[in-house]
Amino acid sequence: MNPLESKQTYQQYVDKKSPNSPIIKNCFNAFWVGGLICTIGQIISNICKERGFDIATSSTIVSIILIGISAFLTGLNLFNKIGKFAGAGSLIPITGFANSIVSPAMEYKSEGYVMGVGGKMFTVAGPVLVFGISASILVGIIYMIFATESITLV
């Protein structure tokens, strides 16, 4: 068979020929690293509550500490190694978000602090912010329209 018969046959042939990612290994690593990060968050949260902070303040403290650790590890050239190992496990929690802002800031520092760091800082995280904020506004509007005693958003 000649794989170059048409673009379609070539695409199918290439899909078959290209190696797949080791998906089971990746899922397993993502699961336990993601779980570990969340457990660390929970421990911080429990300590905060023990010290007398309310739930909302404790959650904020957890976010700040995890973001701080993630940004620090990014600066030490370690977070990319964790990310390569754990994939979505380290990317989905707030650690991934911090990494996606700090890494372009570091990368584009060579183009100056204003147009480099400032301008390019959100190249990776930008879409998450735009669509995250848009979605929350949309939900807010829907909530406002249909707000009754029975609907409560925690």
């Binding site: 068979m1 290209s18 990612s21």
Partner: protein
């Protein structure tokens, strides 16, 4: 110079490759070819403030090395051809701005080295006494331009390739005792609709097969004529595709075909997935390894076909497919 068949050309007085030089980065230095390179730099910055400056320094020093090795003073070099992957080819133009040799900037993505060699060979046949060609690439500057920031914690797909940090340079001369560039087959652009920027090997393989088949048909040669047929940077995925396509066309190149992207890294130890890529890949592997093999007469007939993916980051984001190209030069002793 005369035309043979559809798109191949042979030289009346084949230019000699007088000497070659190569400088590579730390990762390449850990690869299987490390002992062949002229210099392995210790870190990606090489004392510069940015990766772009480091890449310019690499190509500049590679050119200085080849000029020193060849013993031909730069005043006697009539023109140079150079290229790289960065926007508007800044590495080569910035790196070679103090060279004061007439300069032609060349862009052919990762095929730039063989493209430069072809053009330099044509000039040498036509008017020039000596010509120079050089190309470079840098892993960090290429990732920055084409993909994500280096510190971003993401996973690379298995079909992706690792841009080589390094440069290669060669000096061609009218007079010499070989190795000679005897023929060139400039390639056509071939686009088979591959859109995945992480699977360059698949995007470029059809162009490679087109150029290789055309070369055989034009010249009447067959695969066994060459001691080695080496592609620029198709990687492991591309190599498998090439073997399949060529066997479907009735050519068996299994025994003497290999790829620079495969040769330069150790896949298992270096975690480079499908292999190396970039203008510096073919350039450093040829200048470092293959040229020395030719000189030592371990290899007498080499067909070097560099492949390029003619895309940029905007075209990928706009969903365009990736056109591929492949240029061939036949080098014989």
């Amino acid at each position: 110079m005369k035309k043979i068949g559809n798109q191949s050309y042979s030289f009346d007085s084949p230019p000699t490759i007088v000497d070659c030089a190569s400088i590579v980065g730390p990762k390449e230095a850990q690869g299987p070819l490390s002992k062949y390179f002229d210099l392995c730099i210790e870190d990606e910055f090489w004392g510069e403030k940015t990766w772009e400056k480091a890449e310019s320094k690499i190509i500049k020093e590679t050119v200085n090395t080849v000029i020193a090795k060849s013993g031909i003073p730069s005043a006697q070099i009539d023109c140079c051809f150079a290229g790289d992957l960065l926007n508007q080819c800044i590495s080569s133009s910035f790196g070679l701005r103090e060279l004061s040799i007439p300069f032609f900037g060349v862009f052919g993505a990762c095929s730039a080295f063989v493209e430069s060699m072809s053009l330099a060979a044509i000039c040498t046949e036509a008017f020039a006494e000596n010509t120079l060609c050089a190309t470079s690439s840098h892993f960090c500057s290429a990732e920055k331009q084409f993909r994500f920031p280096l510190e971003l914690g993401n996973q690379r797909p298995q079909s992706s390739q690792w841009t080589v940090t390094g440069a290669g340079s060669a000096i061609l001369s009218k007079n010499g005792t070989g190795p000679y560039i005897t023929m060139i087959t400039p390639g056509k652009i071939v686009d088979m609709g591959i859109k995945d920027g992480n699977n360059m090997g698949a995007a470029m393989a059809p162009a490679f097969c087109d150029t290789l088949t055309t070369h055989f048909l034009d010249t009447g040669r067959n695969p066994s004529y060459y001691d080695a047929i080496i592609s620029g940077d198709l990687g492991y995925v591309g190599k498998e595709i090439v073997l399949d396509i060529m066997s479907s066309k009735g050519y068996n190149i299994k025994s003497n075909y290999n790829d620079c992207g495969i040769l330069i890294f150790d896949k298992l130890k270096q975690d480079t997935h499908s292999g190396g890529s970039g203008c510096g890949c073919c350039a450093s592997v040829f200048s470092g390894y293959l040229f020395k093999e030719l000189r030592a007469r371990k290899m007498k007939k080499l067909l070097l076909i560099a492949t390029g993916a003619l895309m940029n980051s905007t075209s990928s984001q706009q969903g365009e497919s990736i056109p591929g190209i492949a240029h061939a030069i036949s080098i014989e002793i």
